[in-house]
Subunit: 472 residues, 2 copies
């Protein structure tokens, strides 16, 4: 069941326009504030219901400089693309408004009504639920979402088709179903009835009422600018720190054994990565000097740089801060990128941002679920996520820091910040423990590797990759 508007009253056009513009400006001013928000307007519905006209009318009432309209042709779902990937780059920054014509629901409906290969209804419902969850993550991260279904009865649709300029038919046919086919129309209506209850349905028989309703819904959303939730909901349950983080096992390996095994493994790993038909995302986290760079180097040893990309993650830039935390990772991960390696990652939210207070309690505490959903979406899109925590002992870190300070071409690797982070050693261990407790999923498990012996650690990393790729 979807809500239907009943308490709708038309407003004076002038009044509506003034209020819309004021609300636009008020929202624009929230950028960087404690009630910052952007608004994403998802527009779907029956052809000829007048989505386009309603958006054009809205554009005339608002300040058009601050309303972007984006329309994509539908993307039929395929296996290596999450439903949000084609759109993530467009997610509006704080203060912005975006109308999205083509969106994940367009794609879902197109995929579901695909003649040769329709979606079954269980999968359809799963998608709808994932979309709702994704939108909830957007909302929690200051991107408010409003979803409007422009509805039109079969009868009215047919009479509008009859009245249409024949040269326009061609264009309309390109976008969607055969609107003369009652079975297809009914099927679409049946599918959209399975959408979640937060959709707003606008009956488009009457054009003036349609445009007014649409604009008033947008106005109501724009005006809603609550302060952000910053406090945690309850007491935080700190996970127990695993022994391997406190006392990483010390192991020995002979130079000869290392070299032999390394050679074998690098070659095996490169082939395994290259010929797996999934995309692979490899994530490295761990204390400074734990050996992330060295491990990455061995993974790519036998690969050609055209086969992979290494993403080195530093502090976000200003334009990234104006969007959801995960946004810069959504946009970095491209479906056509076969092997992506992250030197630090989205776990920064629950590591440095948690510890240094860049994220407030509400933000970092809900981030575990956001991250899990993100990784699940990747997994469902045939992208394997392999996660490493490199566990170094505090003593060994000190030895490496000092050695870096004494080696001219390594000196750049060690900064005052590294020494400061070291002072928060225990906080990082706690944060790591919580990460393992909450994000060690079936679909994206953690590999915790003891790294006091660098050579041993590198071999372990390679073995873990093979294991997760099911190669023995």
């Amino acid at each position: 069941m979807m809500l239907k508007e009943t308490e709708f009253k038309p407003m004076q056009e002038e009044q509506l326009s003034v209020e819309l513009i004021q609300a636009q400006y008020a929202m624009k001013e929230t950028r960087g504030q404690s009630n910052a928000k952007s608004l994403l307007i998802l527009v779907n519905g029956i052809e000829l219901a007048g989505k386009g006209e309603a958006v054009k009318q809205l554009r005339e009432w608002v300040d058009p400089r601050y309303l972007r309209v984006k329309a994509d042709a539908p993307h039929i779902f395929d296996h290596k693309k999450t439903f949000w990937q084609p759109y993530s780059r467009s997610i509006p920054a704080e203060g912005q408004i975006l109308v999205m014509f083509g969106n994940w629901y367009t794609d879902l409906l197109s995929t579901a009504s695909h003649v040769s290969n329709p979606l079954d209804s269980t999968l359809f419902d799963e998608y709808v639920e994932n979309m709702r969850a994704y939108e909830q993550d957007l909302k929690n991260n200051n991107v408010d979402v409003i979803k409007i279904w422009f509805d039109l009865s079969w009868k009215s649709l047919q009479s509008r088709l009859n009245e249409m300029d024949p040269s326009e038919v061609h264009w309309h046919k390109l976008h969607g179903l055969d609107w003369r086919n009652k079975k297809q129309y009914d099927n679409l209506q049946r599918l959209r009835q399975r959408f979640t209850e937060d959709w707003i349905v606008i009956d488009c028989e009457d054009k003036i009422s349609r445009d007014q309703q649409f604009a008033q819904h947008v106005l109501r959303k724009l005006k809603h600018l609550p302060e952000h939730q910053t406090k945690a909901k309850g007491k935080w349950k700190q996970a127990k720190i695993p022994e391997i983080l406190v006392n990483p096992p010390q192991v020995e390996i002979s130079e000869k054994d290392y070299k032999e095994e390394l050679k074998k493994l690098t070659s095996k790993v490169s082939k395994a990565l290259r010929f797996d038909d999934r995309n692979v995302v490899i994530v490295f986290e761990g204390m400074d000097a734990a050996g992330k760079g060295g491990a990455i180097k061995r993974i790519v040893k036998k690969l050609d740089p055209r086969e992979y990309e290494i993403h080195t993650i530093a502090a976000p830039e200003k334009y990234e801060l104006a969007r959801p935390y995960l946004w810069r990772f959504w946009t970095k991960l491209q479906p056509e990128e076969k092997i992506s390696i992250f030197d630090r990652s989205w776990y920064g939210r629950v590591l440095v941002e948690r510890i240094e207070g860049f994220a407030n309690d509400a933000e970092w505490q809900r981030a575990y679920n956001e991250i899990n959903r993100f990784e699940k979406d990747l997994f469902d899109s045939r992208t394997l996520v392999i996660k490493f925590w490199l566990a170094i002992s505090k003593d060994e870190q000190e030895i490496r820091f000092k050695s870096r300070e004494e080696t001219p071409h390594k000196y750049f690797k060690i900064t005052a910040e590294d020494w400061r982070n070291r002072e928060r050693w225990d906080d990082y261990l706690k944060a790591a423990a919580d990460i393992f407790e909450r994000t060690n999923t079936d679909y994206a498990p953690w590999h915790v590797i003891a790294t006091d012996n660098k050579q041993f650690a590198r071999l372990e990393v390679l073995k873990a990759i093979l294991k997760q790729l099911n190669i023995d």
Copy 2:
């Protein structure tokens, strides 16, 4: 003829690494400074010459956090994409270094050697020349470019292919030619001999020398951090201000004639735009309140919002300022966007930026040619550029400003800045005159429309579009 390095001396690895890192940091520090620069490293050459190995070795010598490596599969040229479009988003920001494996030269060579449809050599040479010009624009806008050809003799290539692990062959075959085919090899060598002289050729027989030469070339480029050119080269030759800007003709049109003609024209224009097989970019410039918004509204009147996108151009953001001025337009124009309308545009460089001093003399004075090249590239990629200057009289502007101040839902359209711009009226007229003088090209002509009568102006805009689309 390409230059060959003769005076090459290997450096101590440690020394080379330290110098590279220092140079990296020095360049990183230039961000926002008067010697700001980024570095783009284009890497091409013969398969198995060791491009990948050399880049990996460079990554080990430098601070890998500040060296991005990007590799795309080749894009065969098609008609609606300029050669720079697939790469423009990746152009590095000030302080950054990017190695581009797949790049416009890869695409050119792939297109030229395309079996079924090879490029003829005149077209090939034109592309090479356009690429050089584009790179010069990058350099002038703080993106330094270095182009390296990794060369390998036929004999060595064959012996490396013989030594190769058979499972790797599959991968290598995917990227490029049949390297066992001497004719294809010779053809490639012949083609790259037609490249410009600024290529650096590295002979890759010896691996150590190859990696050293590559790194040393990069080091030399990194170290070169001259102060930017800010002064103009000579005295500026101001164009004469056309009469239409000073005294836009006053015309009358009856309400009835306007409505009738408008209806006819909007319908004609929407069909013309929709069914033209080119992409169309429509640009609006002109004084504040000249009627840009109203004209745009009539163009899209009969279009569906899924058919076009309106780009409203405001001041650049910080991350945009760290790239060439045209960058934000390169990235906004997507080949799959059929109709793009710009409410203000790249002409901001030679209007507001010139007048307010946001661009220095050298910058705005060379911008005319940069813009011409940009529009020519679009034209050559089957994208029609239609440019409008809406010419309002100073008196009429005042009337419209005052009316805006008195109308509640138009009040937002008028700000103190608009009144300030009005004080610089004559500067804007001069700047406009120079624009017409220098950017009124065959492939992208200007339409100057008198707009004191809004209705008349809207009809004129629609007629001009039809005219440039060759519709009568």
